[in-house]
């Protein structure tokens, strides 16, 4: 062996070593997420990338409309995993933008809490389209000084004793859901004419007890801090968390009548080019520790780990699309115009 062939052999060895090293470091493709804020924490992404070698690319959306527009633009080909709320799930499935869940690949399904394991509201025609992932509710925020124990019933908002100390969410659809739930209607999302009339009267009665309506988390919190408010029909857990952070002694409760809940599901895009990477991400985030971390960081309920104080998932009525948005808005306008 002359020096020449030795050199060739050496360089070949080096090349082999280099290329095998490259094979280890090379990511096994990419998973592209379409998610809401807080659903792809950088810490989880880093851990996932290290663990699996799959690169994560996140696209955040601010709302339902924006999300469906993004999905429709490419028939889902731009994304692998999409988080979709229960109310919109059927529309995505009907338009074939998402694919049924392959339960054999969903190895983390066993981590789900019992109330979420059924996935009933994500199942259409026998196929399951979403895995429950994060949830919250539109519950009651109450002042703990005025109410040492949480009020049992929503009716306390109508109590003249608290006139001018109650605030309520200004949102046509959810206000009508709320009225229907307080009146004990079985399906608050599909009301009859008679039920609409009852809900309208109930909401007008509430209006007379209100200090004001509010829109958005920030506004609710600001009004509470600047005025003498003791009760709120809120936008969610975050309202109470924000007030507690500001030093207000408030509690969050789901009264006996129940409350509207929202539930976001992990789904697989119908246009995914890398389903294995999609399931790898879903299995990763469905670990109990990730759920607990999300609850701690963002105040969302987890489906794998019941956060402290959030023991009421089974009493929530998961949001569904209402029978007629236009009609609900017209009725809500009548409530707001009433004297």
């Amino acid at each position: 062996m002359n020096w020449m062939s030795r050199a060739v052999a050496a360089s070949l060895t080096t090349l082999t070593l280099l290329s095998s090293a490259a094979a280890v470091a090379q990511p096994k493709g990419e998973v592209r997420l379409l998610a809401y804020e807080g659903y792809a924490d950088p810490a989880w992404v880093e851990e996932f990338e290290k663990e699996t070698g799959i690169a994560v690319k996140v696209t955040y959306v601010g709302g339902v409309d924006e999300q469906i527009a993004k999905m429709k633009a490419s028939n889902g080909k731009d994304y692998d995993v999409v988080t979709i709320d229960t109310a919109s799930l059927k529309a995505y499935a009907d338009q074939k933008l998402i694919a049924p869940i392959d339960k054999a690949k969903l190895t983390s399904a066993g981590n789900l809490l019992p109330e979420f394991r059924g996935m009933a509201n994500a199942t259409f025609d026998g196929a399951t389209y979403g895995v429950p992932w994060a949830w919250g509710s539109l519950g009651m925020v109450y002042d703990k000084k005025t109410f040492p124990t949480a009020p049992e019933s929503w009716e306390v908002l109508w109590d003249p004793k608290y006139k001018g100390k109650v605030i309520s969410l200004d949102d046509a659809n959810n206000a009508i859901n709320f009225g229907a739930i307080v009146l004990g209607m079985k399906d608050p999302f599909h009301l009859t004419d008679a039920q609409f009339a009852q809900v309208k009267d109930k909401l007008i009665a509430l209006k007379r007890n209100l200090l004001t309506y509010f829109a958005g988390f920030d506004e609710g919190t600001t009004i509470w801090t600047e005025n003498d408010v003791v009760l709120m029909f809120s936008m969610g857990e975050l309202a109470a968390i924000n007030l507690q952070k500001k030093g207000f002694d408030v509690g969050y409760a789901i009264p006996k009548e129940g409350a509207v809940g929202w539930l976001d599901n992990l789904t697989v895009s119908a246009g995914t080019s890398n389903p294995d990477a999609a399931y790898a991400w879903m299995n990763f985030v469905l670990q109990k520790k990730i759920g607990a971390d999300m609850a701690k960081k963002f105040g969302y309920g987890s489906t794998t780990d019941a956060p402290e104080g959030m023991d009421y998932a089974s009493r929530l009525i998961w949001a569904d699309n209402p029978e007629d948005y236009t009609r609900r808005q017209a009725i809500w306008n009548e409530v707001k115009a009433a004297e």
Binding site: L211, T212, Y213, N227, Y325, N333, A337
Partner: protein
């Protein structure tokens, strides 16, 4: 001969192009967008779908259905009240500025215009934190011993809407009023004084009549801005904060009732055009006399 003809043609072409731009730009960016919602206002909404079937139903809804007409009339009333108060205030303030030395005038005028450099939302939030139950005003009056417990009705009431709108839109009334006064030649005032008029007489017979265009412009600005405001009343008015602008706004969210929303917007636009026309008419009458 030939060259002059060509030049004529070139001039004609240039003039034509100029006219096309003069007419075309406003047409493209103002008239067509406005016409587009006039068109939408005649469409039909059926089962949540907008259909291109012409109908008057959206306008009928305004006159017959539930709450639209009463809210409209209430909002017109509120806007007229704010306009009246702001015209009085801005006239007084403009006169006050007008009577200072030229250098002082600019300084005072600028200080009244300063709020225009601030974000609208920040101003509404500030007004709210001043009027709130734990707000500046209540705390101050409590501290001074003027009241025993916070006045609750300051914020989240019709009064609050009225105060907030008047404060927000006052600069828009002061500016045209002041500019109108500023155009009055100084020798008119001197002449009036030389002829033996008292300052009050000069004000009544010289200054105010010459300031009329300013009053009209200020009134129109205030009315239009107040009438179309759909944020302020909602934020400071509490359960009373439902105005016509809010109804228009509400048709474009999840309700997706663009035809009705457009019809209501057309009514809003017609109302503001009427305000402009009335102001113009009042000025013309002055000329004739």
């Amino acid at each position: 001969m030939n060259t002059s003809l060509r030049r004529d043609r070139q001039d004609l072409l240039r003039a034509g192009l100029g006219h096309a731009l003069n007419l075309g730009l406003p047409l493209l960016f103002v008239v067509i967008p406005i016409l587009s919602f006039v068109v939408v206002s005649f469409w039909t909404l059926q089962d949540g779908q907008i259909l291109l079937i012409p109908t008057l139903a959206n306008y009928r809804t305004f006159f017959t259905d539930g709450s639209y007409l009463p809210v409209y009339l209430q909002t017109v009333g509120l806007s007229l009240q704010v306009t009246l108060v702001n015209v009085a205030l801005s006239t007084a303030i403009a006169l006050f500025i007008f009577r200072r030395t030229p250098r002082m005038r600019f300084l005072i005028l600028m200080s009244f215009m300063l709020p225009l450099f601030m974000s609208y939302i920040i101003k509404v939030y500030s007004i709210r934190s001043i009027l709130g139950q734990r707000g500046l005003l209540n705390e101050a009056m409590l501290g001074l011993g003027l009241i025993d417990q916070p006045i609750e009705a300051l914020l989240f009431s019709r009064t609050a809407i009225f105060i907030a709108l008047a404060v927000l839109y006052l600069p828009y009334a002061i500016l045209p009023m002041y500019l109108a006064l500023d155009r009055i030649p100084a020798n008119y005032l001197a002449a009036s004084a030389d002829l033996g008029a008292t300052p009050i007489q000069t004000l009544r017979d010289v200054v105010l009549p010459l300031g009329r265009p300013g009053i009209a412009a200020g009134a129109v600005f205030t009315f239009i801005l107040t009438f179309g405001d759909f944020v302020t009343p909602q934020m400071v008015g509490g359960t009373q904060g439902f105005t016509f602008g809010r109804i228009v706004f509400s048709q474009f969210g999840l309700a997706l009732n663009w035809p009705l929303g457009s019809a209501l917007a057309v009514i809003l636009l017609a109302t503001t055009l009427l305000a402009v026309a009335l102001a113009g008419l009042s000025l013309r009458r002055e000329h004739v006399r």
